[in-house]
Amino acid sequence: MNKVTLLIFIISFAVVSNLTAQEFVENIAVIVHESIETNLLSEKDLLEIYTLSNHNWSDENRIKVADYKGENYLRILFYNSLNLTPRTIKKLWLRAQFTGRTVPPKVVDSISDMIDLVKNNPGTIGYVPITRVPPEVKVIFEIRNDL
């Protein structure tokens, strides 16, 4: 998807879902439960986690991946930054899920659901707009939105 198409898609989505202009141009924070020992992830680490090839945090806790439902604009930006598309990741997760390789990623409807999930479940990793990060979670990676 080129940047113009993506921008048109995001603006359309924002209009429909009443998002503020601030929310869709800001950077994305990758967040985890505060009990996770890891303080900083590399892009490679993040990719390994979201492609379900890394299953445990350094403190042995199981990594629980969280994501958004449907064509969420945050989702598209997030996977674009990892050179992935939601379709590629969906295919990869389905195979992992159907072969029992790992527990299925948890899918949420909204940013507030994502925050609640990460806040209340040790081992969970998710992502939200940087301005929505609550104090109870830890930011371990930041994705710049270049649009």
Binding site: L47, E48, T51, S53, N54, H55, N56, E60, N61, R62, K64, K69, G70, L84, T85, P86, R87, T88, K91, L92, L94, R95, Q97, F98, T99, G100, T102, V103, P104, K106, L117, N120, N121, P122, G123, T124
Partner: protein
């Protein structure tokens, strides 16, 4: 009836347990699955040609149109601890009903895994082994662009081939893992052990006075052969799984202690009793995605040790070797629409149709093409045309034309 009641009881218990634990994400029992329903119209024609053994040629054509609940799978997955998972797969296929009766209900997988690291994961229990790319996912229909799978993996076409002659059907213990070779390329391996092929399993009620096998079996489904299956796969994969290739191998024994009947073996229809024959399978698989194109292909070669059989002059020319090749190309117009085409060919040299007097290219060809539309997430509507026929054969002409439309849903 008993099986249906048992299944219902299991489901009620599982769903009750699941609801009780829903709020606890950590310890959830995960239940998910898929179903595929289809409508297919097919025409099957065969012709037996005139030959020295068959002085009067004959043939017929049969047509049918039918709906079917092709397959429903329910998966139950329970994390036992941070590194261990229990996984159960419940499968009903062919509009399963014990009343009609139709189709079958099966538990093709029930295993526990322990992951020491990415380099080593141990699985114990009934499992689908890693052999080529498709064996491990052969019953995961939503992962495929088509409705009707390649003939070696398609339960609807199981009366045309015996899949266990080509693929290992299950294993009971598997070591597998992967390690990074270089940027974005991983080496993966698997080694497994299991029972020899399913036809060695005891299928006669214990205590049957008239069955020699049942007299020594302790339970139904017991492997009545001392040989076990040993196998493995070595491969390379990238992180996005958009490139995957590998070689696979197994060693076990082929059950030739009973007559095998097949229309493909003409004019006698049955294969002779040859005993338990040592067998090696070699596989090669390649799959990759490039922009909008996805390609996958595999080869399976099955080789037998004929030395003991051929000591008997009556079987001096027996050749049980066989092979299967398959390739599929999918073109994704966008995220929602795609088209595909695949072809496969297999040749079983134990059938008369490839014996003396028939061209070396004789075998069974399957050609198929179709497309799909994903109207919304987790649902695909698929359409597929499939033709299968016997190629270059002096005894038999056999053609299947099938048009299928179906819906595949993940839940």
């Amino acid at each position: 009836m008993n099986r249906t009641l048992t299944l219902l009881l299991i489901l009620v218990l599982v769903f009750s347990f699941s609801n009780n634990t829903k709020a606890q994400y950590d310890d959830d029992l995960y239940i998910f699955g898929f179903s595929q329903v289809l409508l297919n119209t097919k025409s099957v024609s065969y012709n037996v040609y005139e030959s020295d053994e068959i002085p009067f040629p004959y043939g017929n054509t049969f047509n049918s149109t039918s709906f079917a609940l092709h397959q429903v799978n329910l998966f139950f997955q329970k994390p036992i601890n941070e590194r261990s998972i229990f996984f159960l797969n419940l499968e009903a296929t062919g509009s399963y009903s014990s009343k009609i009766p139709s189709g079958y209900l099966e538990i093709p997988e029930g295993w526990i895994s322990y992951r020491f690291s990415e380099l080593l994961e141990v699985k114990a229990g009934l499992l689908l082994p890693k052999f080529n790319n498709l064996t491990e996912i052969k019953n995961r229909l939503p992962l495929f662009p088509y409705l009707i799978r390649p003939i070696m993996y398609e339960t609807l076409l199981n009366n045309l081939v015996t899949p266990e002659d080509y693929n290992p059907q299950n294993a009971y213990f598997q070591l597998a893992g992967s390690t990074q070779l270089f940027v974005n390329k991983y080496f993966e391996y698997a080694f497994y052990i299991g029972n020899a092929e399913n036809s060695f399993l005891s299928r006669t009620p214990v205590g049957s006075a008239d069955d020699e096998e049942a007299a020594t079996a302790f339970y139904l489904g017991e492997n009545m052969n001392t040989a076990l299956l040993f196998g493995g796969r070595l491969g390379i994969i990238n992180q996005y799984e958009t490139f995957k290739t590998g070689v696979s191998f197994t060693y076990d024994e082929d059950n030739r202690t009973e007559e095998v009947t097949s229309i493909f073996r003409l004019p006698s229809f049955t294969t002779p009793i040859l005993g338990e024959v040592k067998r090696y399978r070699i596989g090669y698989d390649l799959s990759f995605s490039l922009d909008k194109i996805a390609f996958e292909a595999e080869y399976i070669g099955v080789f037998h040790n004929h030395s003991e059989i051929r000591e008997n002059p009556a079987f001096a020319l027996v050749n049980l070797n066989k092979y299967f090749v398959y390739a599929n190309l999918t073109y994704n117009f966008n995220d929602d629409f795609y088209a595909f085409g695949y072809s496969s060919f297999h040749q079983d040299q134990s059938f008369e149709m490839v014996k003396e007097g028939t061209p070396s290219a004789a075998g069974v060809v399957v050609t198929s093409f179709g497309g799909g539309w994903r109207p919304f997430e987790n649902t695909s509507i698929k359409v597929q045309f499939l033709q299968s026929y016997v190629r270059d054969n002096n005894y038999l002409g056999y053609t299947i034309d099938m048009l299928s439309v179906g819906i595949s849903t993940i839940f």
